[in-house]
């Protein structure tokens, strides 16, 4: 079932983002296509298992096949797509097993980041983290989920940046793609908001105190809690059984 057979939200979403001829600098197409497709996959607009037809993407993004092909290769490397030989790449499945597997790895990585960050952190960095924390609280108070998401990602990434370990940051960025994807495909978050904010406060405190062990442990707990809840949510709701497709229900 290709995208052209459904009302193709792909088209509308891409159209809204103004294709990607904004900059028109020479080397911008490849990166632009990667970003576009990545967002579509992470946010779930392109459902797991969906086939990516190069030709269609070319038309929607108004570019030729070359950058699209390269972008697809990139996303395969990132693990967001699966490659089948001589066939369309498909959006990688979001197995429960896979998300479960993420828990241990991300927990470990973020724990390490917390430990390292607590050692290196400067007053300025503490202030930046605090700023992001309060941005999150603000978004929470206003019930602005997207803003909260963004600030949350920035908060965690900032900690990894403070850890001042480029390899760690690189790995974290790769993992964050998958975490975000899982996060977007679940939508029970309000229940964890309060708890997450308290945990963030604890992390901030530990970092401010430059307590390496406590920061690491706080982050591990926080990440494990979050991802475990996410897995629970996914295992409870994700089966998405009556995801009625418009061309079903032949009676109507």
């Amino acid at each position: 079932m290709t995208l052209s057979q459904i009302p193709t939200p792909l088209a509308t979403l891409i159209a809204r983002t103004q294709a990607l001829d904004g900059g028109r600098r020479k080397g911008a197409l490849h990166g632009g296509v990667v970003t576009q497709l990545r967002n579509l996959i992470v946010t779930g607009v392109l459902a797991p298992g969906a086939k990516l037809n190069e030709r269609e993407i070319c038309e929607q993004l108004a570019v030729s096949r070359t950058p699209v092909r390269e972008a697809i290769k990139t996303l395969i490397q990132d693990g967001l797509l699966r490659a089948l030989p001589n066939q369309s790449a498909v959006v990688a499945e979001l197995d429960l097993d896979h998300v479960t597997a993420l828990i241990d790895v991300v927990t470990t990585i973020e724990g390490l980041a917390g430990e390292l960050a607590a050692r290196n952190i400067s007053e300025e960095a503490i202030a930046e983290i605090g700023l992001l924390h309060y941005r999150m609280r603000l978004h929470h108070a206003r019930d602005e989920l997207p803003g909260y998401f963004e600030a949350n990602t920035a908060f965690h990434r900032k900690i990894v940046e403070i850890a001042a370990n480029p390899v760690l940051l690189w790995v974290w960025d790769l993992l964050a793609l998958r975490v975000d994807r899982a996060r977007y495909s679940s939508n029970l978050w309000p229940t964890r908001w309060m708890m997450a904010i308290e945990e963030h406060q604890g992390i901030l405190d530990a970092l401010s105190a430059r307590d390496s062990a406590r920061a690491g442990e706080a982050l591990r707990q926080h990440v494990r809690n979050g991802l475990s809840g996410l897995v629970a949510a996914l295992s409870g709701e994700q089966p998405e059984p009556p995801q009625k497709r418009p061309d079903d229900d032949p009676v109507g």
Copy 2:
């Protein structure tokens, strides 16, 4: 300084590997080019900072630019190359800082792998690990460094496989590229052989006993020792200080 200006070991090495038209299956060129270039980079044949001229690679590998371009993009994703806009990709530097940064991350990842593996390990897997351990001892006894390298990598990767966490394996594979690269660029290993083998024995014992904590700790110690030694070696020899550039030394 392009490759064509030096006796281009690239050519000879690639020629020896019989280009890559062996299989001639349709979808084999891209992967083949990636593998070729990756090996050249990891083994150090392509020195850090070297520019990769697409045209030259095309000629040497006897393929067109399309698969080469895609392969370069892939290697950029892997962090083995750095992309400059509208310029040739260059082989990523092998900063001491970067290798140092690897220590913490790889240590943590392998430690996690050890913990998980110790829980899941089957009798068959124990035997496989033991087999690899003794293959290493054999290669050590025979002073066969390449064989030892290979078995060593297989030993560590097998542990990660036993951990049965696909995300962990994915991350490990990515990190292994960098570790191998650093390892190839250093060449003091004989001094650590004996110690490494003892440590491997300890890891094997811990895994056999299904002692998760001990296995994790043994692996962490082992990896940290190895990588620290590697950093020490690199910082001692690698600075390649009198890498006299022909246009230096205006006195001469």
